[in-house]
């Protein structure tokens, strides 16, 4: 049950607004967003906009609400009991909290990759085409084509093409994570949300996934949560820094790293708070 928590705090920054500069409609636009678990408010008045086909990185110390915000974008938080929020999240200028909106189609549009890879107990192939199957698309040729295409884009095809029918659990951690990405891509979303996709991986696997994310940028808008500052600087176009549930600073990545406007941002990226 959602009650509206009114936290009337004036907007601290207007950096979240990027539409002025790019001149185009942002794909995701978060406005005055507050969020609480039970009575415990974890997000305060977030304002943030993500332009199309860009990579936005969320950084910030642990527990500052990055995952919560990310999960709000495709309403995965709905599964948690006792949450409440106020404000709005709009995707393509449509509120995701609109009562007439179908959550299922929202989640198809906004794919998600979790911090811990979660392949289904099925074959590699079935994992990739799961989204199609639940959408009722069962034509073998179509599934084959999509599976190959998605696995290729997730840079996994070469490694698994000979064992598509074996269990997904036979893959390594990095491969599993890429499989989960392939699974998300196969659904042809517009936006992909990634919650620390590389946190459990070694540098080689990490760089593979990073490469892949950069390629995905051509077709998708990507929001990625990361604790790895280098990663954020390497792959993202924009970076948002959160601290204790507030969005402290949001700017183009190189600008944020080279000339942080806020003291707390500077402290964080130089490793003084965390």
């Amino acid at each position: 049950m959602q009650t509206v928590n009114n936290v009337a705090e004036p907007s601290m920054t207007s950096e979240g607004d990027v539409s002025n500069r790019t001149g185009q409609q942002p794909v995701i636009s978060i406005r005055d967003f507050d969020f609480s678990y039970g009575g415990n408010q974890v997000l305060f008045n977030i304002n943030l906009q993500v332009p199309e086909k860009e990579i936005v990185a969320f950084i910030g110390p642990s527990g500052c609400g990055k995952s919560t915000l990310l999960r709000s974008i495709n309403r995965m938080n709905d599964l948690i009991a006792g949450i409440s929020y106020c404000g709005d999240v709009r995707i393509n200028d449509q509120s995701i909290f609109d009562p007439t909106l179908d959550v299922i189609s929202l989640r198809k549009k906004v794919g998600m990759v979790f911090q811990k890879s979660n392949p289904f107990p099925k074959s590699i192939y079935e994992n990739v085409v799961f989204g199609l199957r639940i959408a009722g698309r069962n034509k073998r040729e179509e599934l084959d084509a999509v599976a190959e295409e998605s696995l290729k884009r997730a840079a996994l095809w070469d490694e698994v093409k000979d064992r598509l029918d074996s269990s997904a659990f036979g893959l390594s951690g990095g491969q599993m994570q890429r499989l989960c990405i392939a699974r998300a891509i196969a659904n042809e979303p517009e936006i992909i949300l990634m919650d620390e996709p590389c946190s459990a991986l070694d540098p080689v696997a990490t760089s593979k996934i990073e490469e892949m994310i950069l390629q995905l940028k051509e077709n998708y808008t990507i929001v990625i949560v990361t604790h790895n500052m280098q990663q954020a600087s390497r792959i993202s176009d924009r970076t948002a820094f959160f601290y204790l549930g507030e969005l402290i600073e949001y700017n183009e990545t190189h600008a944020l790293y080279s000339r942080p406007r806020e003291k707390r941002t500077e402290d964080y990226i130089t490793g003084r708070i965390g």
């Binding site: 009562p99 794919g111 269990s167």
Partner: protein
């Protein structure tokens, strides 16, 4: 503070060494767990071994041991009999003297028959059951001897005092013509005697009925009541006669091997049947013909050594009992010379010159067979079925101890069709005890196994869909707060004693459902259909309305539908019953609208109030909480990462449940079903109380059943310790044990398979 090197090392040592308490506890616990585990295994194997040892004697062959030989004076002995204790056999010689032999001492007491000098015995028949010897004379007369033993106790030792009571000499048939063959039967109220007489031309057969006056002072004089001449009622030359043990039948065998069966009642003597037992043989002649204990079956041997049993039963399209071929035994290589029935069961002893064979009719088995090193003159089985006595040609009496406590049992008795006396065909039947001594115990395990499977089937049929869908709904869809109420409630349900369930089922539910069957069936059909339709309509409603009911509380809508469905079925049922289940009562021609009648008349199968449907409901009720709890647990334990993954890909809650959660939890769901199955298979009280405990062989929904477990409960009080029934009940227990063992093994194997297939990282 300066720290000394030594101190540090000591400290380190102490830090890394495990304290003695921990070590001791570790040691003790490890031993304790080991001993406990071994103890459990030992206990289970112990139970298994115990049951196994209890049933082992059922499959053992008899032990026959010669315990002594007594030499009798060299004479030609006609007939041999023995008292009920097997202590003092008697022998009738050709001079009509009765020689009583005391086995313990070898002493012989001779009692002469005191017949008039003018007569000579030409035919005799001795029935050990009544201890009556009938002798026919060369002048066409006969008399009866009663061999009686009176007991006396001298210094606490039983002494048997034999005596011979001779009746008057009666005339029968054609006076003056020698009697060639004679037979006698006594049922208590009626006695009959039949004879074959040589009249020079064709031999004649006459039958008389004797009357005994019953006075206040006891049995009075015996007089001849009625006489029949049967000579012209059959064809051929009579060679053997056999009177039915209930004095209600006479069998006449001719030299061509044809048997004419006459039924004798108070008024009449009627030819019922003529049959030729060895019609298929080159030489159909009959060698011996006699009744088995009980007087329903006859054991016939052919001149060539074939051995068959014919029994009285009402044939499929007949109305009266006739003889039919029921059993064949392995051949004798030489003609059979002697036949002795057991007076305790369906065993009989056949002998030829040197072969002695103990056979058992019910299961057509040869219990024991031996080649002897002497020629056999006569044989007898003691009435307790514990001794065999064989008289040799050279007048030696060989006494054998017979140890055969379980002749009726055996693999075929338990697991194959048996042709029981009185039945028109072989069948699987359980009916362990009967009203009379000559009852054939019917010990087939098949009806009990079928009953067990049937009860389990109906219980699982009812419980599985309900328990699993409830578990799925509760774990995946139901509001968390309601879930915390539902789960403990279900667990309470599991702890309901089955005797309470059985009691409610038998006394409340069974009569309640009996008259409302159509309503119940409508519910079973319409409620799920209604639920699915409602679900469909609900999903079509605009989001706004759907939002009105918070997630997890949709069942409230369903609840309304259920109430409506219930009421609708209630009012619809009488109409449906009238419309579809009306039949014309064959007795009074009226149309009745009663499902029970309709079922009886349409399917020609019985309808019982306490039937499998009720068992399904009540036992299902006992099984549901078990299946529900375990299934719900395993469904809830599916990692949320998996279901979130599916939801994030745009799967609906239902799709997530069906495609991800259920397969992942399949091992647990399977275990749940197996636990339920195990409970249903072993459940005793409910089936005991809710069914009529009739051992049946069908899966008919409206008849009851008898399960292995209920059978043990029902019959154990009546089973004497160590007896065949007692051990057979243990066999039932073993089968039950094997059932559950099999189910569990299957469950574990399949569960492991599923678990490895759907294991999560």
């Amino acid at each position: 503070m300066p720290i000394q090197q030594k101190n540090i090392s000591v400290k380190l040592d102490a830090r890394f060494s495990v304290s003695t308490t921990v070590k001791v506890i570790d040691y003790v616990m490890e031993r304790f767990i080991k001993i406990g585990g071994i103890g459990v295994i030992a206990a289970v194997s112990g139970i298994f071994v115990f049951i196994f040892l209890e049933i082992l004697p059922l499959f053992q062959w008899p032990e026959v041991k010669e315990i002594g030989v007594v030499s009798m004076p060299q004479r030609e002995y006609l007939e041999m009999g023995v008292d009920q204790w097997g202590k003092k056999p008697f022998f009738l010689d050709t001079e009509s003297n009765f020689h009583f032999l005391t086995l313990d001492t070898g002493q012989i007491t001779t009692i002469p028959a005191q017949l008039p000098d003018s007569v000579r015995v030409t035919a005799y028949d001795y029935s050990q059951e009544g201890g009556t010897l009938v002798c026919g004379f060369d002048d066409g007369r006969f008399c009866l001897f009663n061999v009686e033993y009176s007991e006396r106790f001298i210094d606490g030792v039983r002494e048997l005092e034999p005596s011979i009571k001779r009746s008057e000499i009666y005339r029968i048939g054609r006076t003056g013509h020698p009697i060639e063959s004679i037979t006698y039967a006594d049922s208590g109220d009626q006695k009959i005697i039949a004879v074959v007489q040589d009249t020079g031309a064709r031999a004649t057969v006459s039958l008389v009925r004797l009357m005994q006056e019953q006075t206040l002072l006891g049995s009075g004089a015996v007089t001849i009541d009625e006489e029949y001449d049967l000579t012209n009622q059959f064809e051929g030359t009579p060679v053997l006669l056999l009177a039915g043990t209930q004095a209600d039948a006479l069998l006449i065998a001719t030299d061509e091997g044809r048997i004419s069966y006459f039924n004798i009642d108070d008024e009449d003597c009627e030819l019922m049947q003529v049959f030729q037992p060895f019609a298929d043989l080159a030489d159909p002649a009959i060698n011996t013909l006699d009744y088995l204990f009980g007087g329903v079956s006859i054991v016939i041997t052919a001149a060539t050594g074939e051995n068959r049993v014919f029994s009285l039963f009402i044939p499929a399209n007949g109305t009266s009992r006739l003889f039919g071929h029921t059993k064949s035994f392995p051949n004798f290589t030489e003609p059979v010379t002697n036949y002795s029935p057991s007076l305790r069961n369906k065993a009989f002893l056949l002998s030829s010159d040197r072969t002695l064979s103990l056979r058992f009719a019910t299961n057509s088995s040869i219990r024991w067979e031996a080649q002897l090193d002497y020629n056999i003159r006569d044989t007898v089985i003691s009435s307790k079925y514990d001794r065999l006595m064989v008289l040799s040609d050279d007048s030696n009496l060989h006494v054998y101890n017979l140890h055969d406590p379980h002749p009726t049992s055996g693999i075929s008795a338990f697991f194959s069709r048996q042709w029981f006396e009185g039945s028109p065909f072989p069948k699987f039947e359980w009916q362990s005890t009967g009203a009379s001594d000559d009852y054939e115990p019917k010990l087939s395990m098949i009806p009990l196994i079928i009953g067990t499977l049937k009860g389990t089937f109906y219980a699982m049929l009812f419980a599985t869909p309900l328990a699993l869908s409830a578990a799925l709904y509760t774990s995946q869809f139901l509001d968390r707060r309601i879930r915390t109420i539902v789960k403990p409630t279900m667990e309470t349900m599991a702890s309901l004693p089955s005797v309470v369930l059985g009691f409610l089922g038998a006394l409340w539910l069974a009569p309640l459902i009996e008259t409302r069957l159509v309503f119940i069936f409508l519910l079973i059909v319409l409620l799920p259909v209604g639920a699915i339709l409602t679900g469909y309509c609900w999903s079509r409603l605009p989001m706004k309305i759907q939002r009105g009911v918070p997630a997890g509380n949709e069942f409230l809508v369903m609840l309304g539908i259920f109430v409506i469905g219930f009421v609708a079925c209630w009012y619809l049922a009488p109409t449906v019953e009238r419309r579809f289940f009306s039949v014309v009562d064959p007795v009074n021609g009226q149309v009745v609208s009663d499902f029970r009648e309709w079922w009886r008349l349409t399917t020609n199968t019985p309808f019982e109030q306490r039937n499998s449907l009720i068992v399904g409901f009540v036992m299902g009720f006992a099984v549901i909480p078990i299946v529900f709890s375990i299934a719900e647990e395993s469904l809830s334990n599916v990692p949320t990462a998996l279901s979130s993954g599916a939801l994030a890909l745009g799967a609906s809650r239902w799709q997530t449940a069906v495609r991800i959660v259920i397969p992942t939890a399949s091992a647990g769901i399977f275990s749940a079903l197996m636990m339920g199955l195990g409970r249903a298979v072993g459940e005793t009280m409910i089936v005991l109380m809710v069914t009529g405990n009739t051992p049946v062989l069908d899966f008919n929904m409206f008849t009851g059943m008898r399960t292995l477990s209920a059978n043990i409960a029902v019959e154990l009080p009546e089973a004497p310790h160590g007896g065949t029934l007692y051990r057979t009940l243990f066999l039932g227990a073993l089968i039950l044990f094997i059932f559950t063992f099999f189910i569990n093994t299957l469950a574990v194997t399949l569960r492991e398979h599923l678990r490895s297939r759907f294991k999560t990282v």
